[in-house]
């Protein structure tokens, strides 16, 4: 593939996919170890109605309205869960299941009924993203990477995803020790004066920011695979958290790159006419990596007893 073809059509979607995968995998490591992997699921469901409402109010799909919309939806979700739990006197897990799926369904209905023809926002997009459309039309080839005029035409989604990745990485780097200690032994972390509740909340907020930013790339549902699969596969490769993070990033990149190319060219190689969804293929690759590590990974066996 020549640069003239690759740079405008494939480079930016590829980078956005890779950045999104890493930004989700980093907090995903801690979510998986804290046995909160399904928080990623919950976040992804709540994000959709928030983004749709933010669009209906502002008429754009810019970063800040989307972030505020998602945050607002999260607050509504928490209130709803609390109300269902108390009024229905049921366990929080059940209340969460009801609240998140209902809110997601409401988001889909709202999206279907609203006129979003002017922007990249529709039900399909919401479900599995729009990675292939995030192209860089101003690019002529590799030399455009040094051309300020062409660079000005980079898709804003790329900048947004790159900044999100920087922020997520900074969070994990800065709070590495508290995250590690409180994930392993929360009680002990508190006796050292760590605000473990606040840290846990910050982790969820960071994961939510990653989910919102990744919305363009992979939609609000497939993002779950990005939170869970690379970290879970990485855990099966090593017994050290530091190495687990490295593996999760490697797997995230591998899933994004393989997924993008297999989706774009795989069907052609097999003799079919059309490419398939890149986001869907990235999630499929993530799942396949997890399956392979589950069969062949060196650290598959649980070693220590679980917490009681």
């Amino acid at each position: 593939m020549s640069g003239e073809e690759f740079v405008p059509l494939s480079l930016t979607p590829l980078l956005i996919g890779v950045f999104a995968a890493i930004a989700c995998a980093l907090p995903g490591n801690f979510l998986v170890l804290r046995k909160q992997a399904l928080i990623g699921d919950a976040i992804s469901h709540v994000v959709l109605p928030g983004i749709v409402v933010a669009f209906l109010i502002t008429g754009t799909v810019a970063t800040w309205p989307m972030m505020f919309g998602a945050a607002g939806a999260a607050i509504v979700a928490v209130a709803l869960i609390e109300a269902i739990r108390r009024l229905g006197r049921i366990e929080p897990g059940a209340a969460m299941g009801v609240a998140f799926t209902s809110m997601f369904a409401a988001g889909v209905l709202l999206l279907e009924q609203s006129d979003t023809s002017t922007v990249h926002l529709d039900v399909e997009h919401a479900l599995y993203g729009n990675l292939e459309s995030l192209i860089w039309l101003d690019a002529m080839g590799w030399e455009s990477l040094w051309d300020p005029v062409a660079l000005a035409g980079l898709p804003p989604e790329l900048i947004r995803m790159a900044l999100t990745l920087v922020a997520v990485t900074a969070f994990v780097w800065l709070f590495w020790r508290p995250l590690k200690i409180s994930t392993f032994d929360e009680g002990f972390a508190r006796t050292m004066g760590m605000r473990t509740n606040l840290l846990g909340l910050a982790l969820v907020v960071v994961a939510a920011i990653a989910a919102v930013a990744a919305f363009d790339a992979v939609g609000s549902i497939i993002v779950i695979a990005m939170f869970i699969c690379p970290p879970a596969a990485a855990r099966l490769m090593t017994n050290r958290l530091e190495m687990q993070i490295v593996w999760s990033v490697v797997f995230a990149i591998a899933a994004a790159v393989l997924g993008y190319f297999v989706a774009g060219f795989g069907p052609l190689w097999l003799g079919f006419g059309n490419a398939v969804s890149a986001a869907g293929m990235i999630a499929t690759m993530s799942g396949m990596i997890l399956a392979l590590t589950a069969i062949f990974g060196p650290c598959r066996k649980r070693l220590g007893a679980p917490a009681v």
Partner: protein, 268 residues
Amino acid sequence: MTLELAANQGQAPAADAIETSPLAIRGMTVSYGQKPVVFSVDMTVVPGAMTAIVGPNGAGKSTLLKAALGIVKPLSGQVMVNGNALASQRQRIAYVPQRASVDWDFPTRVIDVVLMGLYRELGLLRRIRPHHRDKAMACLERVGMTEFAERQIGQLSGGQQQRVFLARALAQGADLYLLDEPFAGVDAATEKAIISVLKSLRDEGKTVVAVHHDLATVPEYFDRVFMINTRKVAEGTVAEAFTADNLDKTYGGRLVTGQIDQLDLAAG
């Protein structure tokens, strides 16, 4: 242990005990839901002594420790550490949680767990230097675990896990050690190793408080005893407080007379 220290261990807390006690609890009530687990408990830990917290299952022993440390939020009550608020004294307290309270499959090595005890020194970003590592290794040596430093924690036996937790507490370099069931489910060799470390801490003038469930070893291991069954039953030296009468009050007749007879009780 000096004679003076031995003598001090027998004394009742003085009037200004709150000012000098490494840990003074007043009017502590904790509840999970409707029923209080700990109700209006006062405790004055005596410095330089080893105190056992004893009581039946569900009597609030662990909860009392957790509330004192701010791990669980009490409904009411006051905690003073060396006469000051807890928040300003955290670096002087080391805590050993119940071994079963964490997932031992967590991807980390023994040495990394001990280094967690140095968090206050290391802070968020300071690099781990050779002298930090040496300190952690010295703590592992004290509990006889140096050869396991590079092991993944899930490969340890229960007793070894407990020793690692104790080594992490030693790394904190505190004056007051609070341990939650340090002898639960450990082998005899570990029990011996742990009690010898705790006694050496006491002999250095540090204070040790442990939730303990084996009544038979209380007189041998501890100087003082705190008996609780949701409410405080008794507090004092083993000689004063560890009596058949107090045991009966604490365990509410769940201990049969035969069991009490077998204990090496103070004349009471």
